[in-house]
Symmetry: C2
Subunit: 489 residues, 2 copies
Amino acid sequence: MDGSHWVGVKAIAQEMGRRGHKVTVVIPEISIRMGPGEHYDTLTFPVPYDQAYIESVMATNKDVIKRSSQSFTEKIRTKFSQVKRIAGFLHITAESLLFNDSLISHLAEQNFDAVLTDPMVPTGSLIARKLGIPTINLLRGIPCSLDIKSAGCPSPPSYVPRFFTRYTDKMSFKERTVNTLVAFLEPLLCRLMFWYFDEIAYRFLGEEIGVAEVLSDSAIWLLRMDFTLEFPRPIMPNMVLVGGINCNVRHPLPEDLESWVSGEHGFVVFTLGTMVSELPEETTAIFLDAFRQIPQKVIWRYSGKVPDGVPENVKLMKWVPQNDLLAHSGARAFITHAGSHGLFEGLCHAVPMVMVPLGGDQPDNAERLASREVGVVLDIYSITTESLLWGLNEVINDTRYKENIQTLSALHRDRPVDPLDLSVYWTEYVMRHKGAKHLRSAVHDLNWFQYFSLDVLALLATVVLVVVILSVQCLKLFIRKLGRKRKQD
Amino acid sequence: MDGSHWVGVKAIAQEMGRRGHKVTVVIPEISIRMGPGEHYDTLTFPVPYDQAYIESVMATNKDVIKRSSQSFTEKIRTKFSQVKRIAGFLHITAESLLFNDSLISHLAEQNFDAVLTDPMVPTGSLIARKLGIPTINLLRGIPCSLDIKSAGCPSPPSYVPRFFTRYTDKMSFKERTVNTLVAFLEPLLCRLMFWYFDEIAYRFLGEEIGVAEVLSDSAIWLLRMDFTLEFPRPIMPNMVLVGGINCNVRHPLPEDLESWVSGEHGFVVFTLGTMVSELPEETTAIFLDAFRQIPQKVIWRYSGKVPDGVPENVKLMKWVPQNDLLAHSGARAFITHAGSHGLFEGLCHAVPMVMVPLGGDQPDNAERLASREVGVVLDIYSITTESLLWGLNEVINDTRYKENIQTLSALHRDRPVDPLDLSVYWTEYVMRHKGAKHLRSAVHDLNWFQYFSLDVLALLATVVLVVVILSVQCLKLFIRKLGRKRKQD
């Protein structure tokens, strides 16, 4: 997985290598941000596209943020074509790896002890199955809950809010109804998301098996989750929570940046993640207009064309050391798209947030933190200078937000084992024991009506019904006999 | 909680004290085995019984093992009178503490940060609620699953075997039916087990609240469970698994014992836990007869009258260093009543087991380990010299048992944090953060039909029904009109 998904995989790969394991990372020749690192080898495979194609796929993110002039159908069309482009890109990449016979045989010869992969794109899982290697999954979650389903984990829709609903764990009757409907639709969504991979799985593995079944064989699920961000919900024995994996990786700021950010009013960090590097002109103007009116300095990760009229307190940078900036004592607010990595960094360093979610899990993430009153959510499509100023003013000047996030941050950082160490531990565990079969629940041997005991309930209901009917019949017979007897008397 | 329940509480109390916390253990003046230890203070309260009373309650355990001469109704009567005696003992002890006003006010004045308790007897939980102190529970499990219910944890009867059923996680349809029925009966069992405590709760707290509700406020559940013994099942975020808390506490054997156990054939360790120190004469004779026929030496924890004809290879001792003996390389087999502490020690040191469960969770525990083929189960009520010899021969001479338990032991010992350290960590966590509210699931705000979304399903079913009926009516109307029109034509 590319993009932000790569961050965690790279961190674990590097740490595993540093501890003396032989780590081989298999990546496409051309990618958004995947590449070599410390302590691991890379093995690249050719892909039938070039950097320009990737950039064109990425650029669709900007189209999606285009402001509200679009009609509803136009918006849907834009969204749909974006999803189609991204899916096409993922499928081509997966096929380029899976059907590269010489590479697959080369991998088979290495006798790997384990595969670490993000199963959101199940390429790694398919290779692991083909080569008979136990799998460790590192992921944030799959929107149709395929991860939860494949791990056999209960997820009652009565208090576990579904993806895209923006609900919390406390839902009204109406919300619970919608949430239950979404839960019913999840299998359909999974079909839509994975039908092509199901087909690839059949072609690659030569067995009648879907992605869900392949994933259900995973040894360990490293979930980039934490209950300071997520709401409490059931988990399974082979699920390990490693949210905030990069919190402690911290470096001092470069000298020029350090001197620029220093000042009595502190500064604001503004990034929209790796997938969006620039905004439509009118949105940019709104942000600049708001920034002009605050005393804080603003560091904005912005890699597009530099707009006119950038105020003095704003610094546009193609790349920012986000974690180090947030760790700085001068950080007053964090304007973020509410991607999980950014949120965990903000949470780690207790910086209140103004969240402008763009898509994916971001609107849900944002609502979760907003429900804990550690930040505010603004709609990027209808944002105005006033709403942005209101948001910044709230989180910077109302001390409640800072206090709340300090409390939440203390809880988030208070864990028996550092998430990166824990990830490495369970990866090594799978290598040592050739899997973790004793943690795999027996739920996988049941079909859905057995799982919900519907067959047992049907039997019990039948027994109760028969007993009731027989009793009533006996009673009737008895009353009739009694009546007859009386007549005879 | 006294007896084996005390072992874990004491270990944590000592370790907390060693780390510099002020630990006060509140215990009755007279008890089975509770008492002072290192690094903690004890506070005793008077109870209206003496040591002889406790011994008479304990002696009922021996009665229960009386051999099969008893008829079924007699057995039930014996069992019932035993349960009644134990319950009476627990209730008197609880009331002596809760209604000791000066002690309770003294406790209130101490401003404790946390209460550590075994909620199987909810005295500690009631005091914690009264004084408004967050609670850490340390327990093996409550037979009616009140712990699971109070933690809001899903427990599907389709693959989570219930207490007393002796089932594994792979059940036939018949077994699933029985298991589901037991699950249905659990609330009733809870009523039976806790009705008196519900009444005490009302008297002590002065609020209309039951034990279940008091427990649902617990901050952290330290469960003496491990998935090498238990079958994989869902857990909740505030449940922490600390099975095998005493595994690493190890000392060398006393010199005389060391020299006695040494020998080419190794030795067998035989204990039946703290609750049973002697057996009926005829059962003792069977054991001695079997031991006479094996080349191994046998160390038997036995505190009753020494029987005649004890063979040379058998050593009866009032107390044995069980964990240190099992850790010895000469240990060939462990004859145990399958109490959880003993099993975890056997598992920790990879000693195959002959299990003779007596009651409580022991038959379930025994079946669990037997299903992993690390030991055999014998029925203490119908045991014979032959069956015992068969069992010992199996686990000592069939290398499969030793290999299996070595694999299972390696999995059991391979944990990111030592269970005792983990217990202390979460206890300190609760003290640092004054509870762990963010780990408490929203399931507690739902009633049972909301939890199972039954209200939502009823609405959805109604909607579907109305739509179907309306469609059928419309279709009828349409057909009728069509028919009339045709007639008119």
